[in-house]
Symmetry: none
Subunit: 170 residues, 2 copies
Amino acid sequence: MGRRKIQIAKVKDPNTRQITFSKRRTGLFKKANELSIMCGAKIAIVVFSPGNKPYSFSHPGVHLVAAEFLQQDLTNHLQRGPSFDVYKNHYFNLQNLDLMRQLAEEESKRAMLDEAIDHGKGTQLSELQKLLTSLADINSKVKSEIEAAETMILFSQEGVEFPAATREEN
Amino acid sequence: MGRRKIQIAKVKDPNTRQITFSKRRTGLFKKANELSIMCGAKIAIVVFSPGNKPYSFSHPGVHLVAAEFLQQDLTNHLQRGPSFDVYKNHYFNLQNLDLMRQLAEEESKRAMLDEAIDHGKGTQLSELQKLLTSLADINSKVKSEIEAAETMILFSQEGVEFPAATREEN
DNA sequence: GATTCTATATATAAATC
DNA sequence: TGATTTATATATAGAAT
């Protein structure tokens, strides 16, 4: 793939290693982007550079993808049949999704905060207040979901919807 | 890269899309593996197939990489300066982490029961528990940072203790 | 769903700007 | 230092299992 064939082994020279990282990270994210577009696949990547700087790529967003991953992770585990423990798991599951949603909100909130700071306007505070209001709103909505779920005997896998997709790359 | 040049757009035919996904996911994970080896980079990938089945690749482990990412994510938030609202938002986030910690403890008990009943087959739950432990660890660290800041006084939450979580390599 | 077989399109190691 | 160039190694589209 380059002028010479190389072995897949740790690149010794720190400088070369950083160059390799930079190029291959770019390539990896490009591939991930193509995969998500061509297959409509949700995907999240987090990688740390040799200098330990974090880079992430995700569609529709790291936290949302992570949330779905956790949900399925748990759901798989729930298929053991009805029991007291299973009930607890369901409750647990919903709270995790709630947490992830809040993290997702945190993401968009941060984006808005960045914008507010960039523009250096006095609107910053009111924007933040709006966001906090939305957070509280979402929080109470999800809590209602949880309460409703408590009345359920067992667990359907449906009911998890995610906000509109966004694409991010740092 | 194949017999014909293609456009990067959603593959219409469901069957072809699944084939494309399978091939490209394999390629992506291979690239990720090479990157982690050549650059000693920590990396985590989670991706969902068109059929919504989750696949993940990671070195040294999805949850550990995700945890480190979240930690830096939160740390970055804190570096935005002594803004009342910003800290307030962080605190909001921290409450979630604390909730996760509490849930982790409850789940831990169940995990042990599971282990006893279903010897050696509770791997998924065990993985989840690792994640939650990591998050609790992050919570503890970030909480310390915040408490160091003067602006945090208003929001410090007394009586909340965190276990001295330990990080493990996979 | 995943894999194999090939012809081609792409990614990228080294070199260079 | 990074961006760009270029020769080559690799990934993968299409077809078939």
